[in-house]
Symmetry: C2
Subunit: 280 residues, 2 copies
Amino acid sequence: MSIKEVASNRSFGGWQKVYQHESLGAEIKKCPALYYLSGLTCTEQNVVTKGGTQGPAAKNGIVVITPDTSPRGCNIEGENDSYDFGSGAGFYVNATEDKWKTNYRMFAYVTKELPQVIRANFGDKVDGDKMSIFGHSTKLYNFTLLISLPSSFKTSLKCLVWTSPLIISAFAPITNPIQCPWGQKALKGYLGDNIEDHKEYDSCELVKKYKGPVLDILIDQGTNDEFLKRELFPDHFQTACADAGVKLNLRLQEGYDHSYYFMSSFMEDHINHHAKYLNA
Amino acid sequence: MSIKEVASNRSFGGWQKVYQHESLGAEIKKCPALYYLSGLTCTEQNVVTKGGTQGPAAKNGIVVITPDTSPRGCNIEGENDSYDFGSGAGFYVNATEDKWKTNYRMFAYVTKELPQVIRANFGDKVDGDKMSIFGHSTKLYNFTLLISLPSSFKTSLKCLVWTSPLIISAFAPITNPIQCPWGQKALKGYLGDNIEDHKEYDSCELVKKYKGPVLDILIDQGTNDEFLKRELFPDHFQTACADAGVKLNLRLQEGYDHSYYFMSSFMEDHINHHAKYLNA
């Protein structure tokens, strides 16, 4: 598992580094850190340059790991045709449709392979036995991913140790992808037509049957977010959490939009939210 | 004096806005705010997206004004040929060479015209009667500009009220442009061959004859800055300040380079440095 440092900059008393590695599809062992999942059209650079993670992370002694959002350079016909599907829009699902299923396995990548790469290459730097995850955007199912992580890891892999309660946070997430245009397009494209398969990546559906550790969820949502009423539906998720008895702190932030100006404004709150458990 | 809002995003409880306006060359009156001057190749967007100004500015109740770094679209032959001269590299001088002198008057723009535009359009928002200025980079003479501001404003314009002591700060500035390749190229190109003209934009030369309000200068300089030994020479400036009895806090930051990762790491310190006087 080779890994190559492609950039290194001192930042807030720590280091902002970018590494490149081949994706192979391997097993994992436990890996403590705070993972950050970016949104549609992003690479790892968006949050690195605009998210304001470095200062709060340095203050709390946390390593923030920010993977790219999709496979690149797979030479799949049409992979670069849409901003909301294909390259830059992996949506963190394990695709099952023939055209995509070999490469577009971002759920497996983020939950299994990436932590293994981190552990194999940074075992001396990424310490502790707790990890946590958060993300930004309407545009990906990162929130779905978060919700589905505990069962995924705890039951099938038994190799990652999560905090308890399990801390999750998100900025303006898609919460109900089976109900929104972005979600329907991506789920159908990557998974085919079976709605039951789609539900495996829908936070509202998943929270209903959630059986993992106690959840402590923080969501910030701008009230002027241009995607709020078309794609995001935090109210759907709020209802689902209430029905399921899951703790959700949904904060509606007056006047904020969907940009990094919004997200970076509350980055410190989110990192502190994770840190209180990661550093407990 | 028309002004057009081209972007508006809520950020850290305030607003991150971008305005476009024609440069006309007018008089100014006093205008309180914290001006930020970016470096070579930058537009106003670099610091807006990567500088981390919004949080510290919001905490301190300060408006940070970040102009573009040079004229754009002047259709001067060769203006886009170099990264370190012409478009994106105005160097905040008033050019005297025929080819450049009509448009490349960034010193006058920043010290006279821009504050007037701010005052005319944001008189209800930019309050108080104090202003201050700081900047980033080797790549511009912003530090020179800062040093020369008091005499420029106080003696010839009598219309801007600066803090006393006069607060100046910079990240990794060129301090002695008559001695470095970037400086020599730009000064010769914009001003011609007379070294005496060049000295009017050299901080080390200017501090020797400084007669303005008491100065309180903060400089952060990364020790791994790739331009440190070729272009920056903070040691030259340190000596010049000591000889002139000017207060300088030069902080050498171990391992930091010349990037926004460096600059944003110390942004809060710099804004606090200005705020203690602006809010006094």
